[in-house]
Structure formats: structure tokens, C-alpha cells
Amino acid sequence: MSSVAMHPAAREGTTISDLGRVATEGLDLTHGVVLYLEGISVSFDGFRALNDLSLSIDAGELRCVIGPNGAGKTTMMDVITGKTRPDAGTAFFGQTIDLTKLSEAQIAHAGIGRKFQKPTIFERHTVFENLELSMKADKRVRRTLFAKLSSEERDRIGEMLQLIRLNDSTHRIAGLLSHGQKQWLEIGMLLMQEPRLLLLDEPVAGMSDEETERTAELFVSLAGKHSLVVVEHDMAFVSKIARKVTVLHEGGVLAEGPMDLVQNDPRVIEVYLGR
């Protein structure tokens, strides 16, 4: 009884940044695992995009997922983020949050951020506004109508602009940024959501070597605080950041382990690396 009575009172005193904690409060990491996928199958018109896929990601881990085209990498992300519902299998975020029952927005709120293959930012908004909109906050209509940026929130946006090196373009229209800058902006937008788990689909596609280098550093520094799942084709990039690699093939896990072990796995060489 008392806990029920306390709940609204506890909410009363929350600031916007505290609300982030309200959202991820339910994330139970008792077994040190942030994401469990078990026996996931997805079919599109008879084509099995995912076939009994099982995968688990530890809290704070940086995992790379590789695999040839059509291996099911993007579909896997669709399942985790609620865009696609699996035909069979379970997907849990922490111990308790069943991802197959939540909408995209609820999953984002629970603490999963996703970066798309093609940079998806708000092209007609400024860089600042892109970060403002994605920032962790109460995102219901009524709150958004009367939302005002606090100076603390402004500072957080400012820090993010430094981190993604867009502080010279703060009030530029995002559509005018270079491809690499857009990728960074999208990563910045994800981080503004303060996610526990980041899903990054080909984050360095179209980046210069220098940008790729800096992205690798950024991801390595993020691991620990966040968990990251990186889908990438760029093998040089993967070997630079990867601790553990998962190879997908025909909708299932073909091999999993440290990069050098996976690279020498004859099955992996046959389907992917050998070509």
C-alpha cells in the first residue's frame, strides 16, 4: 500500500533529467545481461529473414555483428526496436522488459537507441534542434507543448555538440551537413536519449578515414557506460573496436567469439570472409 501511495509523490519532485531514470528504472540487469534474444524467427512472404536466432549481449559490452547481405542483421535490429514483430521467439531487455510487446516509442523510452543504415536525422531542423528533440525528456504531448529548455539541458546539448564536433554548426540546417557529419549527428542524437543499449547499423559508412578513426575511439569510450551492438561491413573498423564478434548467416548465428578466432573459423571463411 505504502509504495502505491508514494509513487505519485515521488514523481512530483522529479526534474526532466530524473525522468530518464524513471524510464529505465525497470531495467533489471541482475544477471549482467542487457539483451536476450532466444529462438527468434521472422518470415516475409515465405522468406526466412531470421531463423531461430539466439543472442545475448552483456551490460557494457561492445559487440560487433557481421555477416553477408541478407544474413538478417537489419531484421534483427527491427525486432529489437519493435519495428518488426517476430513470428516466434522471445526478446528481453534486461530481465523483465519484453520487447515483443512494446511499441517503437516505448522501446526507445525503455533505453534502446537505434542508428539507421542511412543517416536519419531531421534534415530541415537545425543541428541544435535535432539534439533538443532527441534529448531524454517526458515526451508526451502535454509536456512537449509547454516544454522549455533549462540551462542544464542547454549545457548538455552544448557538451554533445563538442563531443560530436559540430559546435561550429550549431544553428545550421542539418540537411546541409556532410554525410560523415550527419552520421555523427545521428550518433549524438542517440546519446542524447541516454540509452542503455545502442544499436548502430553501419555507422561509419561514407565516413573519411579520419572520421572513422574518431568514431572507433568514441565507441570504445562509450562501452562500459552503454552497451553497443555495431553492425558493420568495414572489416578494418570491426577489428579495431571488436572484442567479441557475432557472425550471422541465413538468419542465424554462424559463429561467435574474439575477432581473430572468428576470422579463422573455416565456416566463416567459406560464407563470408573468404569471398
Binding site: 526496436t81 516509442a105 526507445a108 536519419t120 533538443e132 508526451r140 512537449t144 516544454a147 544553428h171
Partner: protein
């Protein structure tokens, strides 16, 4: 495009000045030159112009409502005439009741009911002799219809041209329904021959001017409300939904509620505009629900400039001004002209007339 911070304010000095000038024309200029200056004077503004501008201001409210959902949220409705007509019918019921026994048949029931030999009011007419009840219906009927329709359409993620076609079908279906005598709203004749409003004779210059001024105030209020919405964080989310809805969802916004809110608000604004329109024009019939009417609303906004609000209101004024000229001078060519105008604006003025003006400014 806006790269500075000024868009976070309602309006700058220039915007407020234009708005104040407009208010002065509506609240001072028109009353003085219509009522105080006699018809013999060259400066007299005739009832024709008062009614015409009053009508156009109602359309401007509709255009702003349309711009909110089309220009900002990217949802093209081709059925907004329905919400306008529903507001008009809701208020028209009150005006019909105000006729009392002064109709042609000298009966306490409206003429069309006497003609159909109805002995009592059907259920839709419950309490419609109350002004407040009908004023409530003006807001609630379009609002509830839009909310329910929008909920199912947006929840099923119906988008783009499919959504537009469904809204078009909705208004067409409603028109057929209202054409039937059995629906209880006067069939194809609709409502007309109004005598009084709040027991005051409706056809006097003073009542006409009062309705005109109320419409002007509502227009200004609508513009400021809409402007406040689009300059808030809500407005930025709305524009983000228009440009990249998936990203907005993955940011943690439930886009269904955002779209539903602005869609319902837009319908309610149309209903209010319809209620202001009917007493000024003196008639409401099902042709207001015709698909062509709703398409015309989209043309006003396109001509004025999508996503500018004031431009949408300006577009409603320009197109309807041209319409009243054309339908008198060359009545058979109006639709050709309207079609041509739409094609030319789409091809050469993607940002409408207002876009043209602000482009001039940049070059100067």
C-alpha cells in the same frame, strides 16, 4: 530557411505591426466606414464588402487549420470541408430554431419539417433551441468525429495519398447522407431564411458588423494559437514527424498522439469557422461537403505558402477574392482558372506567394 533564433518567438516587430494594422482595419476601419459613414459618401463600405470579407476570414481560419496539419505535420486532408460544414450545421440548427413561427408555414417547426409532415423534432435536434448547447456541438461534433477517425487511421499507420483519399471519401459519404431528407437536416436545401440570432434580428447592419468583428477576432486568435503551437517544442516534433516519422518514434515520441492532437484541433477550428460562416452567408447545405470544396482548401494553402500560417490565410484571401471576381466577370472560366493557378503555383512557387515575398526580401 530559419537558421536564427527568431522563430522561437511568436512574431517579430514586423509581424506584430502587420497584425495590428489588420486589426485596425477590421475593428475600426470597417465599422466606421460601414456604419458611421453614410451610403452617399464615396468612402462608404457596402454590406457586400463586409459580407465578402467576413466570409473570406472564415475561410482563412480553415486555411490556417489546414496548414497546421498539412504544412507542419505533412498530413494532407482532402476532407476538411466536412468539419467546416458540420460546424455550420450545428450552429445552423440554432438559427433554424430562432426562426420560431416566422417561417413560410407560420408553424413552430422549421419549414422543411412541416413540409415533410413531421410532428416533432428528431433526436438530433434535442436542445438545439439553446445557444450554448449548439455552440458546444460546433466544437464537439467535428472534434469527436476527427478524433475517432484519426485514431483508427493513424493507429493503422495510414499515410500519404491513402489518408487523403479516405478523407475525401469521408466527406463525400457525409454529403450523400446530408442530401437525404430522412437525415433530418433539410436535405439538399439545407438551412436558410434565418431571422434572428440571440433573439436579435440577423439582417441588420449592426448584427452583420458584430459577426464580422467576432470573425476577425477569431481569425487573429486562431493565427496566434497556431503560431504558438508551431514555435513550441511540440511544433518542432510535428515538423520532424513530417520529415522523418520513424526517427521520431525511435526518439521515444508516440507519434499517434501528436498527429491525433493536431488533427482534432484542426477539425475543431474548421467547425468554429463554419459556425461563423453560416449566419453571415445565410445558408448551409450539403454542397459544402462536396469533395471539390475540400480540395479548394488545399489549393488556398498551396497558393499562400505551406508551413507559413499567415501565408495560408493570405492564400484563402487571394483565391476567394479572385473567385468572387471571376464568378461575376467570367463565370464559366473560374474552374479552369483555379486549376491553372494550382498548376502554376506547384511548378513555379513551391513555397507559395509568401515564399515569393520572402525571397524578394533576401535578394534586396
Amino acid at each position: 530557411m530559419n537558421a536564427d533564433h527568431s522563430y522561437r518567438r511568436l512574431y517579430g516587430v514586423r509581424g506584430w505591426t502587420i497584425l495590428a494594422a489588420f486589426a485596425a482595419v477590421i475593428f475600426i476601419g470597417f465599422p466606421v466606414f460601414n456604419l458611421a459613414v453614410g451610403p452617399d459618401s464615396t468612402f462608404h463600405i457596402s454590406a457586400y464588402w463586409v459580407t465578402l470579407l467576413g466570409k473570406i476570414m472564415c475561410f482563412a481560419i480553415v486555411a490556417i487549420a489546414m496548414d497546421l496539419i498539412w504544412g507542419y505535420a505533412g498530413i494532407l486532408s482532402l476532407g476538411h470541408g466536412l468539419f467546416f460544414a458540420l460546424g455550420g450545421y450545428a450552429f445552423g440548427m440554432y438559427l433554424m430554431r430562432q426562426i420560431g413561427s416566422d417561417g413560410q408555414y407560420r408553424q413552430p417547426m422549421p419549414d422543411f419539417m412541416v413540409f415533410l409532415d413531421w410532428k416533432e423534432f428528431p433526436w438530433q435536434w434535442f436542445n438545439t433551441d439553446s445557444f450554448l448547447w449548439c455552440a458546444m456541438l460546433v466544437v464537439v461534433v467535428p472534434g469527436v468525429l476527427a478524433y475517432v477517425f484519426g485514431f483508427f487511421a493513424f493507429r493503422s499507420r495510414v499515410k500519404g495519398v491513402y489518408f487523403s483519399i479516405i478523407t475525401q471519401a469521408l466527406t463525400f459519404a457525409a454529403m450523400l447522407l446530408f442530401f437525404r431528407n430522412a437525415t433530418g437536416f433539410g436535405g439538399n436545401n439545407g438551412f436558410t431564411d434565418f431571422r434572428r440570432i440571440l433573439d436579435i434580428p440577423i439582417a441588420t447592419p449592426q448584427t452583420r458588423m458584430a459577426l464580422f468583428a467576432i470573425t476577425g477576432a477569431t481569425l487573429i486568435g486562431t493565427l496566434l494559437l497556431a503560431r504558438w503551437l508551431v514555435t513550441s517544442k511540440f511544433g518542432r516534433v510535428l515538423a520532424a514527424i513530417r520529415d522523418a516519422e520513424t526517427r521520431v518514434m525511435f526518439c521515444g515520441y508516440d507519434t499517434l498522439h501528436y498527429k491525433l492532437f493536431v488533427w482534432t484541433l484542426s477539425a475543431v477550428l474548421c467547425g468554429i469557422a463554419g459556425a461563423l460562416y453560416v449566419p453571415q452567408v445565410g445558408i448551409i447545405n450539403p454542397s459544402e461537403m462536396s469533395p471539390a470544396n475540400s480540395i479548394e482548401i488545399a489549393i488556398w494553402v498551396a497558393v499562400g505558402g505551406r508551413g507559413t500560417l499567415a501565408g495560408a490565410a493570405l492564400g484563402a484571401g487571394l483565391v476567394n477574392g479572385a473567385k468572387s471576381f471571376f464568378t461575376q466577370a467570367f463565370p464559366e472560366y473560374w474552374l479552369f482558372f483555379l486549376g491553372l493557378l494550382f498548376i502554376l503555383v506547384t511548378l513555379f512557387l513551391p513555397q507559395g506567394v509568401l515564399g515569393l515575398i520572402s525571397k524578394r526580401k533576401e535578394h534586396a
